[in-house]
């Protein structure tokens, strides 16, 4: 009895002491707010960015992965060899990696994941990433050989996407509600409509991260986001929805503001098949009627970089083509007259909820009105936007940010919602996919950018900025967003 009591007291003291020690050191939990809640937690079967924000590199890992600076580094693959002709990739996997349910991650799992993504009935949102894969072979438990139909200079980059993570056949059935991966964090709990909690994985193959638990909280309303941050209810806001409030956070010593770049090309998307937008003169007139800087200043309070084509300015292959579509309302009117629309015309402008679209749309409509184009503003929710604009292609104009990295390839898909159909461009993309030489790739990418810019496919507005807000003590947040991710393994509290 005495002995038992003594033990209890001793252990209580020990626990108390360790608690004190942790507190004295630094906090080991964090609450991170994001605007959208993921529909489910399977990054391999949906395009929703919110899924990747929660699970990418935290729960699921792929053969390669993105770092915060956009570079691609080894993930579950320790190293790889590429055959002379660029078609055979042999990956050497890390030894001793286990899934959260205790099963071992080996070459069979990699084969399963890639076969699942390339399968006929695959629900993968980015099938194009895997299109070139001819076969996947598990040579031995730690070696995977992937054979491509033709060389693909982007292949390692493609494998780093959240859509290419490695999943286990044993647990894939419930992946949407109970994701089981190899990452440094295991899935804890999901309170629908409120938050998702992740817990540190003690059996992680890599270094143990600093944070023990992380809670992702979903706050969609910009006003509520501001209030939650100001009241210190959340520690980090991944991408703060109201740029107008950033100067207040900057002035407050309790907070830090991280302004970085995203892969989001914000464009005035134009239905290239709908008259009068099937006439290049009309599209060119649109491009000259829009004052990008006014949109950036008015809608984003100055955050954002003007773009003249569908490409991220921080990418080394970017070509600045903003000069091809400078703001010139007189020229726009002349072009409209040349196209036979002296008195302008009427069209629709569908605007999804984010402020870049709603505010940007009001400014765009006002600018179009200056040259005689009447754009009727139709505010829509995302579901409605996906249904009528993205799938139904029933729109004239819309404003949207394309946030996938390196997505210029969408212009090679004539059935994509803006319906740009150019054999020249498709040939360019085919050439790009079979080119591995970096210099030649840069040249081809430059040519592709010039082509869509001089075809005035869409109105190119600006590159969306990543506007992170965090408490002053949080370290290791990604400043830029090369892909949608909140990499918990890098985050810690300063003491």
């Amino acid at each position: 009895m005495t002995k038992f009591m003594f033990r209890t007291i001793a252990s209580t003291l020990a626990v108390g002491a360790s608690l004190l020690a942790t507190q004295a050191l630094a906090r080991s939990d964090i609450t991170i707010a994001m605007q959208l809640e993921p529909p489910h937690l399977d990054p391999t079967s949906a395009a929703a960015q919110a899924i990747d924000s929660v699970v990418y590199t935290n729960i699921f890992e792929g053969l390669t992965r993105f770092m915060g600076d956009g570079s691609v580094v080894p993930g579950l693959a320790e190293s790889w060899e590429i055959s002379e002709d660029g078609t055979v990739y042999t990956f050497k996997l890390r030894d001793g990696v286990t899934f959260h349910d205790g099963t071992t991650m080996d070459a069979e799992d990699v084969k399963f994941s890639l076969d699942r993504a390339t399968a006929e009935d695959s629900a993968n949102a980015q099938k194009a990433l895997f299109a070139g894969i001819d076969s996947v072979e598990a040579v031995d438990p730690l070696t995977v050989k992937i054979t491509l139909a033709e060389p693909n200079g982007n292949f390692l980059f493609n494998l780093a996407w959240g859509d290419a993570v490695v999943v286990a056949p044993e647990s894939v059935e419930n992946i949407k509600t109970n994701p089981v991966g190899t990452g440094a964090y295991t899935f804890g709990n999901w309170v629908q409509g409120d938050s998702i909690t992740l817990i540190r994985n003690p059996d992680y193959w890599g270094d143990q991260p600093a944070l023990e638990t992380a809670t992702f909280k979903f706050i969609s309303d910009p006003t509520a986001a501001f209030a939650a941050m100001m009241a210190e209810d959340v520690d980090v806001f991944d991408n703060f929805p109201a740029p107008e409030n950033l100067s207040q956070f900057e002035a407050d010593p309790r907070f830090q503001v991280l302004v970085g770049s995203t892969e989001g090309e914000t464009i005035l998307s134009t239905n290239n098949k709908q008259p009068p937008f099937d006439d290049i003169l009309v599209r060119q007139a649109l491009a000259h009627a829009i004052d990008r800087q006014a949109i950036i200043d008015g809608a984003m309070f100055g955050y954002g970089t003007p773009i003249g084509t569908h490409f991220a300015p921080h990418n080394p292959a970017y070509v600045d083509l903003t000069g091809q579509s400078v703001y010139d309302p007189e020229k726009a009117k002349a072009l409209l007259a040349e196209a036979g629309f002296e008195n302008g015309f009427e069209t629709t402008l569908h605007l999804p909820p984010p402020s870049y679209a709603r505010r940007g749309g009001e400014i765009t409509a006002a600018q179009l009105a200056e040259v005689g184009i009447t754009a009727e503003i139709i505010n829509v929710e995302w579901a409605q936007w996906l249904e009528s604009v993205f799938k139904g292609k029933e729109f004239g104009l819309t404003i949207v940010s394309h946030t996938e990295p390196m997505d210029i390839g969408i212009y090679a898909r004539p059935d994509y919602y803006f319906q740009y159909d150019s054999t020249d461009f498709q040939a360019l993309m085919d050439a790009l996919n079979t080119t591995t030489d970096p210099e030649e790739r840069t040249r081809l990418l430059g040519e592709a950018q010039r082509l869509i810019s001089s075809d005035y496919v869409n109105g190119y507005l600006f590159q969306l900025a990543k506007l992170g807000v965090a408490k002053a003590g949080v370290k290791g947040l990604w400043e830029n967003a090369p892909t949608a991710a909140i990499d918990l393994t890098q985050i810690s509290w300063s003491e």
């Binding site: 107008e244 400014i363 505010n379």
Partner: protein, 271 residues
């Protein structure tokens, strides 16, 4: 005339005047963007300051008054034009199946939360001023039907109606010639109150994005746009908020004043 009536009439006519003048003159073009001069506090050039796009708020308030008044006026009109005949019919056929159908139908509409129906209407037909008018108008029908029926019922018991019946006039003719003129005072008072409620409803609908669509200015949407900027540009929310308060207060005072002024019993008591 009471002080309420004078103050109410003054405030209401101020708003109506602003709306009327906006057809011919506003200090600036209400839709003209001037982004370099955004978020200015009230000053000599811009009496109410500028919004987040640099638009002149004074001009927007003037044109917004037009939107509010137009929506509320047409909505109340719909309510009166449909509700009053329904109420008269129900009273004339008191106790019949027709009375039951009309009044239970009214109860049904009355029982629905108006905003939910408004959201339903806009979800089906799309957001816009016209649909806001229809939504608000529908909810005005039972209000007018009920008040008309209530007043008409007591009138039907009066001797002059009996005289009219004896002289051979039908129910429809009596309703039009004798009942309607005698409930008109009541309808004017109720109309004023409903008008102010209509303005509030329009502001509420456009606040949630279901009212007049941009670029047409509306007070409710100005409030919604101002939400995230209240902490550093409070005038963006205060000014449209005050405009709504002044209008609704003015109309309510006017309604109260009119009731006191028009009600014969009170008039007699005063004299």
């Amino acid at each position: 005339m009471s002080r309420n009536l004078i103050l109410g009439a003054f405030l209401s006519s101020l708003v109506v005047l602003a709306a009327l003048i906006s057809f011919v003159w506003t200090p600036y073009d209400y839709a003209a963007l001037d982004i370099p001069n955004k978020l200015q506090p009230p000053n000599v050039q811009h009496w109410f300051g500028t919004d987040h796009f640099g638009r002149d708020i004074f001009s927007m308030i003037m044109v917004g008054a037009r939107t509010s008044i137009a929506v509320a006026l047409v909505a109340v009109g719909i309510g009166m034009v449909l509700g009053v005949p329904l109420g008269l019919t129900a009273a004339a056929r008191k106790g019949s199946w027709l009375d039951e159908v009309i009044m239970r139908g009214n109860d049904l509409v009355f029982a629905f939360p108006s905003l939910v129906i408004a959201i339903l209407i806009t979800a089906v037909f799309g957001a816009g001023a016209i649909n806001a008018i229809i939504a608000i108008g529908i909810f005005n029908i039972p209000v007018f039907a009920r008040i008309t029926r209530g007043a008409a019922l007591s009138l039907w018991e009066r001797e002059f109606i009996l005289a009219a019946r004896v002289s051979g006039k039908g129910a429809a003719r009596i309703s039009a010639e004798h009942i309607l003129p005698n409930v008109a005072n009541l309808l004017i008072v109720q109309g004023t109150i409903q008008f102010s409620l209509g303005i509030l409803a329009e502001a509420g609908l456009s606040y949630v994005g279901l009212g007049a669509q941009p670029p047409t200015p509306s007070w409710g949407r100005m409030l919604a746009d101002a939400q995230t900027m209240v902490s550093f540009a409070p005038h963006l929310a205060l000014i449209p908020g005050l405009a709504i308060i002044v209008t609704v207060l003015g109309l309510n005072l006017l309604g109260d004043g009119l009731r006191d002024w028009l009600d014969p019993r009170i008039r007699v008591a005063r004299a």
